[in-house]
Amino acid sequence: MHKHLWTWHRRLGALIAVIVIFLCISGIALNHTEGFKLDQRHVQTGWLLDWYGIDAPSEAWSVQVNGTRILLLGDHLYADDKLIAAPYSALHGAGWNGQMIAIAAGAEMLLLTPELTLVERMTVSDGLPADIQAVGSDSVNRIAVLTPEGQWIADRQLLGWEPANESTEIQWLPNPVQTTEQIDGIREHYRGRILNWERVFLDIHSGRILGSAGPILMDLVALMLLGLAASGLWLWSRRLR
């Protein structure tokens, strides 16, 4: 009986050793989530993202302005390949006033330098007209927007808005269209911003990374560990005698 139990004790120990190593590493990592900034670091590894079934949205909307492609993928807004900000529900249009690119997205207007550096995010609180439907410009290159309440013109610095005069000729710029371009790099970037390492370590620790069977497996491992502790104590007590 003693020899038989000793054999099983060793086998059980070897069987769960690998899982215990994973549990220890993930446990230590989770204990120091803030220190390691696990909640801010995102998984970029392709196979792990595939494992979680994370994919970029199939549809993307884009518009060209001043030689720059403004693109909305999911709720992420990109200028060329650079992420500008998120989240945005829709891309309404974009314009160029000779100094800055003005992008109407969601309930905001984002201003960018020609080098695509963010200048300001304007909201209704800053005097931006609500419910922008289209972006355009007048004959002197001032940015104009179309809303259900009418047409509005911004000053040269894009600090204030006023209703456009009836005589003002506004050229409305093309509305965003569904893009057919290859944007694999942007899609990969989008995927790499969804899953953080805290989630992965939590799932490893609980076993959920293996799907619905994972927690049951971890329950079994816990029972095995209990068995290991009990058999170890029993063997140790026998040895003392």
């Binding site: 550096t117 963010l118 200048v119 300001e120 995010r121 609180s125 800053d126 005097g127 600090l159 204030g160």
Partner: protein, 176 residues
């Protein structure tokens, strides 16, 4: 049944204020500006952030400012700033009025976090009244914290320092 109903009423009574607190708009920023200038707000101006100023702001905030310019409203020696800073996860929008280089008024306008909303109360924001920036770029006085709202307190304090810093740049350029 009566007992269940009673518990449900208690639960709703407790939960409702919390629901209202989360994502609360206490005052629209445009209303705050209007009120500050007695219904006749001046046109907004923009302060462009030089690399040196960005560095000073980064030192206060602990991160780089998100844009390249900050909007403000000015009437002689009085400036008003609407600034955002994240408490724990979401930005707290705060209105700050500065008069002759001292804080006249601080008001939390939009609070989006689920905790720390106590910073909106006057007993906290009144502490900033008259505060100025010392040589080290800190406030010239100690601001008492609120237990359970440490991150929000810290965020509002940072914004007050940033507003004083930005105002000092406006004052400098006006003197020149």
């Amino acid at each position: 049944m009566k007992q269940i109903l009673k518990q449900l009423v208690i639960l709703l009574t407790c939960a409702l204020p919390m629901a209202l607190v989360h994502g609360a708009v206490y005052q629209e920023p445009s209303e705050f500006v209007n009120e500050t200038f007695h219904g006749k707000p001046p046109s907004p101006n923009a302060l462009w952030l030089t690399p040196e100023l960005r560095e000073q702001m980064e030192h206060i905030l602990g991160h780089a400012p998100s844009g390249m310019r900050v909007r403000y409203w000015q009437d002689q020696e009085r400036t008003t700033w609407i600034l955002d800073e994240i408490g724990k996860e979401l930005p707290i929008t705060t209105g700050i009025v500065i008069d002759h280089n001292g804080i006249e008024r601080v008001r939390v306008l939009i609070f989006r976090e689920s905790r720390g909303w106590e910073v909106r109360h006057d007993f906290f924001t009144d502490q900033f009244r008259g505060a100025r920036m010392n040589n080290k770029g800190d406030l010239d006085r100690n601001i008492d914290g609120i237990s359970g709202a440490t991150l929000s307190v810290r965020a509002v304090e940072k914004l007050a320092r940033v507003a004083l810093l930005l105002n000092s740049k406006i004052t400098e350029s006006t003197k020149k």
